[in-house]
Structure formats: structure tokens, C-alpha cells
């Protein structure tokens, strides 16, 4: 069992972080007209490294069950605006839309990899 979950781990972790980033970008887009709202984002690289190294909770004993991805406490960063606006809002629609579509594509990529792995496993199990 552990073998299978470890086999799928990389992409399922990536999927969780991507999904979290999708929510953050959706929040930015929802707040595009709110004065003084500062656009937020996470750094995917460092987040995924954090999740892979220790999970959500650090295990102090090798017998501890490794915590799953229930709410990783990531570092929320602020976006540096290209051209700041007078009302203090740092959401730039073009930037957010590009980041969002890139993130969606990368989510789909991870999903496709997962699907391929699962169908590989299935055909190995069935022995077809």
C-alpha cells in the first residue's frame, strides 16, 4: 500500500499546492476592484519542497504517521505591481489572468500524469 501511495505522491502533492494557488489567484481576481487590497501569491517551488520534506506536521519519531496535505502552512507573499494604482490595489488583471491560466495548465498536467500512472498501475494489477 505504501508503495502505491509513494508512487503517486509527487503529483498528488503538486496537485494540492496547485489547487491552493488557484484559490489564492481566484481571490485576487475577486478583489480586483477593492481599494487597498494587496494581491497575494505563493512560491510553488518552495511550497512543494516544504510539503515533500516534512509534510504538514513535522514527525519527531519515525513511528509517527506522516501527516497528509491537510492545510500546509505556507508563506503567503505579496505581489510586486508593475504599475501601482492610486487606490492602493495591487491586482493587475493581465498578470493575474496569465498566472491563473498557467497554474490551471500545470494542474491539468499533474492530473494527466496521475491518470497515466493510475492506468499503468491498473493494467499491471489486471495483468492485461
Amino acid at each position: 500500500m505504501k508503495g502505491i501511495s509513494e508512487y503517486l505522491n509527487v503529483h498528488s502533492n503538486a496537485l494540492a499546492v496547485r489547487s491552493r494557488r488557484n484559490n489564492i489567484l481566484a481571490s485576487n481576481i475577486a478583489n480586483a476592484a477593492t481599494p487597498n487590497f494587496k494581491a497575494r501569491d505563493i512560491d510553488f517551488q518552495s511550497e512543494i519542497r516544504k510539503v515533500e520534506s516534512e509534510g504538514a506536521v513535522r514527525a519527531t519519531n519515525p513511528l509517527h504517521i506522516k501527516a497528509s496535505l491537510q492545510g500546509p502552512t505556507g508563506t503567503m507573499l505579496y505581489r510586486d505591481p508593475v504599475s501601482p494604482s492610486r487606490d492602493g490595489n495591487t491586482v493587475e488583471m493581465n498578470v493575474e489572468q496569465m498566472e491563473f491560466s498557467e497554474n490551471v495548465i500545470r494542474y491539468q498536467t499533474s492530473l494527466t500524469f496521475l491518470n497515466n500512472k493510475i492506468s499503468g498501475l491498473l493494467s499491471a494489477i489486471k495483468g492485461e
Binding site: 496537485l15 480586483a32 481599494p35 492530473l111 491518470n115
Partner: protein
């Protein structure tokens, strides 16, 4: 108000905020030609105040949305027009026209429309992703 849990709450609440904005614009445009006998009773453009609402677990999820905090009236002065034959004209023959700038309202209407569309787009995309995820392994 209940907590913001997912992207549907985020986009839904932001869309209702944009709809409130759209309603104020419609009211402003509908009242654009109105005249009144005194400066105090003349119509003044209404503007919604947007504010950010954060989810309870914002530190973990990073979810926030926008909500209408209240509605103010713009400080644009009503225009004073000389119209002695008008039934509501004051003793000097002036009426006060509604303090609404039609061009400004139109531009704001376009902006509200675009932001509404952006929110719908986000929900449509993420809903498709969720459906793909549900069908994983099939």
C-alpha cells in the same frame, strides 16, 4: 456572514458585490436627468464601498473575497440651471439637476461588467478542473 470555504464562495460574493455596483449605476443613470427645487434635495450619484473579507483560515487557504461595506453618495455638486418656467424652480428661477456624470457611470458600468465576467471565467475553469479531478483514474 458565514465563512468563505471555496472558490464558489469567493466568486459568488464578488459577483454579488459587482451586481450591487451595477444596481447603483442603473439608479444613477435612471436619475441622471432629474431636476429638483433645492440643492439639498437634488439627486446625487450613489457609489458602493468595497472591502475585502478574509476566510477564517486565511493563513492556510489564502482565500478572500470582496463585499459591499455600504453605499455613499458622491460629492459631485448638482448643476444649477436657469429654468424659470419649470414648476419646481425656486424663487430666483433656478432648478438643480442630478449630480450624475453619465460618461463616468458608463465607464464604471463597463468595468463592473468585465470584473463580473472575470469571476465567471474563474469559476468555469475551476469547475472543469474539479470535474476532471473527480474522474481521475477512469
Amino acid at each position: 456572514m458565514s465563512d468563505i470555504k471555496n472558490v464558489f464562495d469567493v466568486a459568488g460574493r464578488s459577483m454579488s458585490a459587482q451586481l450591487v455596483r451595477m444596481n447603483t449605476i442603473a439608479s444613477n443613470l435612471a436619475n441622471a436627468g432629474n431636476v429638483s427645487g433645492t440643492e439639498e434635495t437634488a439627486y446625487r450619484a450613489m457609489k458602493p464601498i468595497f472591502s475585502t473579507t478574509y476566510a477564517n483560515n486565511f493563513k492556510d487557504s489564502g482565500i478572500s473575497t470582496t463585499e459591499v461595506q455600504g453605499i455613499t453618495t458622491s460629492d459631485r455638486k448638482p448643476e444649477r440651471i436657469y429654468m424659470p418656467s419649470h414648476p419646481v424652480a425656486d424663487e430666483t428661477g433656478f432648478v438643480y439637476s442630478a449630480g450624475v456624470n453619465v460618461e463616468e457611470e458608463f465607464v464604471e458600468m463597463l468595468e463592473a461588467k468585465r470584473q463580473y465576467q472575470n469571476n465567471i471565467e474563474v469559476v468555469t475553469t475551476l469547475r472543469a478542473l474539479m470535474m476532471h479531478t473527480i474522474r481521475m483514474g477512469k
